[in-house]
């Protein structure tokens, strides 16, 4: 199990990580979600021993990361945000090099290279140089290089930046396979859709601090309502009166459009529509929506995730 306890890091007077604690267990994908500059990359750098925290600690199965040459680091695979590949070496040579850094050689190394290439679907391109690959293929090889030594924990720092939807799905499939194999995955992203699709648990980070750490249903429960109705309606609605209805969690009207927060779409929506009819408001259109991590982030920080 990966455990981060009270991690802090400052550069000059600026504290970029402030008391971050979380854990990730085998077979779990934990997402670190936050806007650019939130401190996600610094956290990942501390998790894999690239950056020493000013205070706090990182441990894997109870053993601290320790020095640069610590054997504990063998348990971690890092997929950097940038494409960390040697363009002039073939895919196979890249894998062999990074495998050798973990002391692998001979048949074991060749077997691992084959397995890593198979996993990311690049077996037929083993002898080609990464510079001849598409962006998505390069991303997949970037991930394969982190898997070559069969780490227990995989740290992925925005691994889908600049990737087409097809390659992104291929990467997600790879990650789900790894999860099924019992690997621990820590996935940083600023794309809420990725976190929603992949992660069992999401740690929301803003300005270097954890603002929430829960499963998706748990995070949605932080919102006043999980479901919402977007209603185009004639006339000004008395939203304070509407909000007093037991099924209504929130109500506001902007430019004629009424947004009503509810808990159960099938049960609560007819009640809201009946209330509008009873108060002589003609409804022009109705749309329903489900809470997103964007809503959660907005509710917790007062800002959009992509601000």
């Amino acid at each position: 199990m990966l455990q981060a306890i009270e991690l802090r890091k400052s550069y000059g007077a600026r504290e970029v990580v402030s008391g971050v604690s979380f854990s990730a267990t085998p077979g779990e994908i934990v997402g670190l979600l936050g806007p650019n500059g939130a401190g996600k990359t610094t956290i990942v750098s501390m998790l894999c021993g690239l950056v020493a925290p000013d205070s706090g600690s990182v441990s894997i199965a109870g053993a601290p990361i320790g020095s640069d040459a610590s054997p504990v680091k063998r348990k971690i695979g890092l997929v950097p945000q940038d494409l960390a590949l040697y363009d002039e070496l073939s895919a196979q040579r890249n894998l062999e090099l990074f495998g050798a850094l973990y002391g692998m050689s001979g048949v074991t190394l060749q077997t691992r290279c084959r397995q890593a290439l198979e996993l990311v679907g690049l077996t037929d391109r083993a002898k080609d140089k990464p510079k001849t690959f598409s962006g998505g293929m390069q991303r997949r090889l970037n991930m394969a290089c982190a898997l070559i030594h069969d780490p227990e924990i995989l740290l992925l720092d925005e691994p889908t930046v600049g990737v087409d939807p097809q390659s992104r799905n291929a990467i997600f499939d790879n990650l789900e396979t790894l999860k099924a194999r019992g690997k621990t995955l820590v996935y940083t992203t600023h794309y809420m859709e990725e976190a929603e699709r992949l992660c069992d648990r999401v740690v929301i980070i803003d300005h270097g601090k954890i603002v929430a750490n829960d499963t998706l249903p748990g995070l949605y429960r932080l919102l006043p309502a999980v479901e919402s109705l977007e209603i185009e309606v004639e006339g000004a609605v008395d939203t304070s009166m509407l909000a007093r209805e037991p099924v209504v969690k929130s109500a506001r009207q902007t430019n004629g459009r009424l947004t009503v927060g509810i808990e159960d779409l099938s049960h609560d929506a007819p009640i809201v529509l009946a209330w509008l009819e009873a108060h002589r408001h003609k409804v022009r259109s109705v749309a329903s929506g489900h809470a997103t991590l964007e809503n959660v982030f907005l509710a917790l920080t007062g800002r959009q995730l992509r601000d």
């Binding site: 750098s45 894999c48 021993g49 690239l50 950056v51 020493a52 020095s67 640069d68 040459a69 610590s70 054997p71 504990v72 680091k73 063998r74 971690i76 890092l78 950097p80 945000q81 940038d82 494409l83 960390a84 590949l85 040697y86 002039e88 070496l89 040579r93 062999e96 090099l97 990074f98 050798a100 850094l101 973990y102 002391g103 692998m104 050689s105 290089c145 982190a146």
Partner: protein, 378 residues
């Protein structure tokens, strides 16, 4: 050990797969050294180099004719007799280095002035200011020929003729009496040093690029000590530098007749010390550079200064005395001097010890500074 070998092998493969870098670091020094070597090769022409000088004889005297005749016989000069405007025009256009004007009445006045103080004839020497060293040579030639001609005329026919009371016997001092100086030896040393340092710049810049591309993160994430990462950089840089030096000198020996006349062990020692110096120089660039682009520009400037002061372009003996003293604190001076000493000067191993020690000292200095300034968390 697998990791160490893999990292060094990776650096070698990456370097030798970069044909542009190979061209710059290996072909360019050979071509430029060949050019400079040919330029300064005293044996490149069968005929000795003759300095073109114009003579304007405005005097009809026997002495003036004798002076001009004597000058024409001198093998060091290509004497052309012209009128004054024509001679001046040739000096101005650089076709002749100087023009000597023997004025009307020169013979009579020179003969009188030899024994009696008083008016001396004024001989005008026009000279090309870009070839100022020629002036002294022309003045010497003129003095010799005038003294000979005037003394012969003054003592009458068949009388005393003053001549130079000595003759010179010129002997090149090289490694062996039977061995001619090979100007390619110095030019290959100088250009080799310059372009291998350029390779050192590439080494430093490639580390900065690795940082930018995230490759450095990947290497640092592996269970490798910092000392191993830095040592592999030094070893691979030094190996590449040694290989380049080996290739350059193989061509110099095979094609241009350069010979290691001194200690072969000393030559190898100087080469290895310079290779280590190059690698530590590259590491220093990586430690001090903020971006690959800025680091490359500054490092090229620094390298050009180093090789200029080190005597790689022109030998340090032509420097002013203060600059010669300054150049002793420049590592490239020791590299060039060390290679010269082991090649055409033919000196023994003891002459290599000084350059080796100084270069290794600079390597420790550069490496120490690099380690102090290296930002591991970038």
């Amino acid at each position: 050990m697998h990791a160490f070998i893999a990292l060094v092998r990776k650096d070698l493969v990456l370097y030798f797969s970069n044909r542009r870098a190979m061209l710059v670091n290996i072909a360019a020094p050979i071509v430029i050294a060949a050019f400079f070597g040919a330029l300064f090769d005293p044996g490149s022409s069968k005929r000795p180099l003759r300095i073109p000088v114009a003579v304007v004889n405005q005097d009809a005297s026997e002495i003036a004719r004798d002076v001009v005749g004597g000058m024409k016989k001198d093998g060091s000069f290509d004497i052309r007799e012209l009128d004054e405007p024509e001679a001046l025009a040739l000096v101005r256009t650089g076709k002749v280095r100087a023009a000597v004007v023997l004025p009307k009445g020169f013979g009579d006045e020179a003969a009188r002035a030899l024994f009696r103080p008083g008016n001396k004839p004024a001989v005008t020497v026009y000279f090309d200011p870009s070839q100022a060293m020629t002036l002294a040579v022309v003045r010497g030639l003129l003095t010799q020929r005038v003294v000979e001609a005037v003394s012969a005329a003054a003592s009458g026919s068949g009388g005393l003729r003053l001549e130079m009371p000595f003759e010179t016997r010129e002997q090149e001092v090289t490694s062996r009496a039977d061995r001619k100086y090979n100007s390619y030896a110095h030019s290959f040393a100088g250009m080799g040093v310059q372009f291998i340092l350029f390779m050192g710049i590439d080494l430093g810049v490639s580390l900065l690029l690795m940082r930018r591309l995230g490759l450095w993160k990947r290497l640092r994430a592996a269970p490798l000590s910092r000392s191993m990462l830095l040592t592999t950089l030094i070893v691979s840089g030094a190996l590449i530098a040694t290989l380049i030096l080996l290739i350059i000198y193989t061509v110099a020996i095979a094609v241009f007749g350069v010979r290691i006349e001194g200690s072969v062990t000393g030559f190898v020692g100087v080469g290895i010390a310079f290779s280590i110096l190059t690698a530590s120089f590259g590491l220093l660039i990586a430690a001090l550079g903020r971006t690959p682009e800025a680091a490359r520009g500054l490092a090229i400037f620094a390298t050009l200064i180093l090789v200029m002061l080190g005597g790689a372009w022109v030998p340090t003996f032509v420097f002013p005395e203060w600059l010669q003293t300054v150049s002793l604190f420049v590592p490239t001076r020791w590299a060039v001097d060390g290679l010269d000493a082991m090649t055409w000067r033919g000196l023994g191993f003891d002459a290599a010890l000084g350059p080796i020690a100084v270069m290794l000292g600079f390597s420790v200095l550069f490496g120490g500074l690099a380690i102090m300034r290296f930002d591991w968390e970038k």
